[in-house]
Symmetry: C3
Subunit: 336 residues, 3 copies
């Protein structure tokens, strides 16, 4: 593409050589004359000044720092995201149903559906138009997938799951396994069979090896536009509101309801039966042990220290209540 | 089923219409006239009073609050668990060995064994009667599975693993991968080949994407009746006693021995070479850094706070030892 | 093997019966007369004195405690690691390409490559000599694997990934899934397509269900000799230096660079865009929230306590800043 074509695509204002050929996107540091880079974060200003990029996506206020051609736009990061869609090339999978795949005769596949080698599609499964099922994927009976989905290799989807349109599931994702429901009894644990399903909305992306359990009675629900990173665990009957983002290694215990537009950082743990309001932010590594009703950012944990210092302070943590009582006693003594 | 039939099944006392038809189980909030719900937790009392359920499983002491027919039983939660087994319907997988599956000629399969599409069963594998192997499962050579097991799609079981009867493994489970054993050397890490196996008892359930490594020399051992949730990591030579329950995202490092009937909440981390006695409880998010010999509940971590408050307190954590020393100095000064 | 043969193999000095037949390795506690055990950790001295092992790998300074034949060596643990390679027996997988596997006609396979049942190898994939691909593995288009690799069952490798020689990937590993890149917009999250790949060096081992994402623009890079345990999450554009070891359940967020020879314990969380210098150690459960430039051991978290005590202390944590201010006020008052 030429810079002029890219400028038109993005609605950006071009400063420089309209005919420059661009063959790819790159970071400021690794770009060459045929690459386009982007500048947003001021801490990369040095990289910007030294960049060998052919052009840069940049805001009007920063354009004076660009040592190269510039595409001036209101939101360079958004423009960059837009542009990645034009340069991505996921290799195509051969059309149609591969001879080594198994598709039950009662399954109903839309037009343009691809089922790659050694995938398995169960009884009464319904798959919408243009959905691509990679190798080794298993879709169990009575499940439906919408159109324009991409289900990467070795994903496992249990029976009775409903997945919307334009959903991406990365490899190793498991949707619809039994929730962890057992009643104690004199003879050990008695299984509570999980009678609910899972409903996943439209425009959802789920990262590699993430698990989303089926509900005990009602369904587990993932709203529209939700984005979930790798190795996230979502237990039975969790409900996640539209456009919430959940970073890697986060776990959400059973029956917790999370609002819309929340941003949950990595390695967060949220215990069960809580309600988290819309728009809440939770920082990395936090244990959420109570419901959150007020829009704010929440945290827990202790700061990083050298182990030798940490040990001394950690010992004092176990004495904290005593320390606080001693302080109160001292205050009283002095007051008296 | 009629209410009378359900009452007989559960040994419950029926108050209401013996001929009422029940077609499913539901929560108090979502039930209709053909559903049966259950009431245990007092915080759902409002839901109970408003429920449209046809009937409710309830204890004698609470039955006066029920606005509908009631099945009075000693342990409504247990009765509910019992009843789920009668209403669950996991779709059947076609009998026998699917043509697209691979079963080694030396494998020995019991009567009623199902091997679904694109599963792979290695040399000398032994599988007991009525065990169901879903699509994409791989069982490597010399491994044995008992009878009445259900191995969900895309499970991976390595060679030389022994699995008991009535075991459920959910999708993505990996059993028997190498433990993380390496000796440091001048040329980097030298692999300690893992010569042990894994033994899993009877009546065990393992959640999606959980991993249980093979032992270095001796076997890794999972007792009878153990229940394990999703994304749990169990390292080499861990031993877990009968009927212990382990919730999601918990990790147990190598050679740690855990007793029977322990209840380990989600996102617990237990370091290696420890001994945890029978019946111990560990709360969510706890790091267990020493052996536990006394039956009790154990915890670590800090409470949830708004990030702005948390930052102030977290800074003080790094000063805790100094704070404690200053307090002691002050106490001494005043005493003097 | 005889003890004499083992002594020669390890360059150890033999004290005892040169003709003793050794059939396996075992721990001090479980060994019998035909087993060889090893002694390194002084806390197993009692086990050493009681062992029924035929022989023991031991250092010169400890050999007087051995109640059996001894192979005296400088580093018994290293010798033990060496010996495991001679006693390990992973069952062989049938040679060549299994008829139920799919290998694209454009794929180029070296000599001695094994592709087991129901594996799938995409277009233009290149696989080096003697690499073994277990059942259910999926390798997408344009990816290359070196020679002498072992890829265990149900691994998923995306397109455009480069993997070196002598690499072991355990079951459920996912390499090359999209990094978690999305730009906020008025209509929800806009995907940043991930245009980079993943490069994995030589002599790398990756544990079960670990995920390594592809880069956004540049590649995610795993150096030579890196060892990674189970359920580790490595986000896009992470760079890991040679011979670093990462234990189970650790997560590393995007664009963080980790040096060589670091040892990162289990359940560590490292936030994004940090730099961790060579040789740093991080203890289990630590949240790393800043770059680390000085070689040392680092930690965070609070010690394990009985829940009843922990609750009292945890409440005080939320008051820590106030406690510190009260102490300062008191110090000032007394000074005045």
């Amino acid at each position: 593409m030429t810079l002029a074509e890219i400028a038109e695509l993005l609605g950006a204002s071009l400063q420089g050589d309209a005919n420059r050929q661009i063959t790819g996107l790159a970071t400021l540091g690794s770009a060459n004359e045929q690459s386009i880079a982007f500048f947003v974060n001021p801490r990369y200003l040095t990289d910007l000044k030294k960049t060998r990029a052919g052009a840069v996506l940049i805001s009007a206020e920063n354009v004076s720092h660009a040592p190269c051609d510039a595409l001036v736009c209101q939101n360079p990061y958004h423009a960059f995201a837009e542009l990645t869609a034009h340069f991505v090339s996921v290799p195509t999978v051969a059309n149609g149903i591969h001879p080594s795949a198994f598709v039950a005769s009662s399954a109903v596949l839309g037009s343009g559906v691809v089922v790659a080698a050694n995938a398995s599609i169960g009884d009464n499964v319904v798959i919408g138009d243009n959905t691509i099922i990679h190798s080794g994927v298993v879709v169990e009976a009575n499940t439906s997938l919408g159109s324009d989905c991409r289900i990467y290799s070795n994903v496992s989807i249990y029976h009775g799951v409903k997945i919307g349109d334009r959903v991406t599931l990365h490899s190793g994702v498991v949707i619809g396994a039994d929730g962890f429901g057992f009643a104690p009894s004199a003879n050990g644990w008695k299984k509570i069979h999980q009678l609910g399903g899972v409903r996943v909305g439209n425009d959802v992306e789920v990262g590699a090896n993430t698990t989303i359990d089926r509900g005990a009675l009602d369904d587990t629900i993932i709203g529209n536009g939700v984005i979930i990173d790798n190795q996230v665990q979502i237990a039975h009957n969790v409900v996640i509101g539209d456009n919430t983002a959940i970073a890697g290694c986060t776990g959400i215990a059973g029956s917790t309801h999370i609002g819309s537009r929340c941003t949950i950082a990595g390695r967060v743990s949220i215990i069960g039966h809580l309600t988290i309001a819309d728009g809440i932010h939770i920082t990395a590594g936090t244990l959420v042990s109570k419901s959150l009703n007020t829009v704010d950012s929440y945290s827990s944990g202790t700061p990083l220290e050298k182990t030798i210092d940490w040990k001394k302070n950690a010992v004092r943590y176990s004495q904290l209540d005593k320390i606080a009582r001693r302080l109160s006693a001292l205050e009283k003594k002095i007051k008296d």
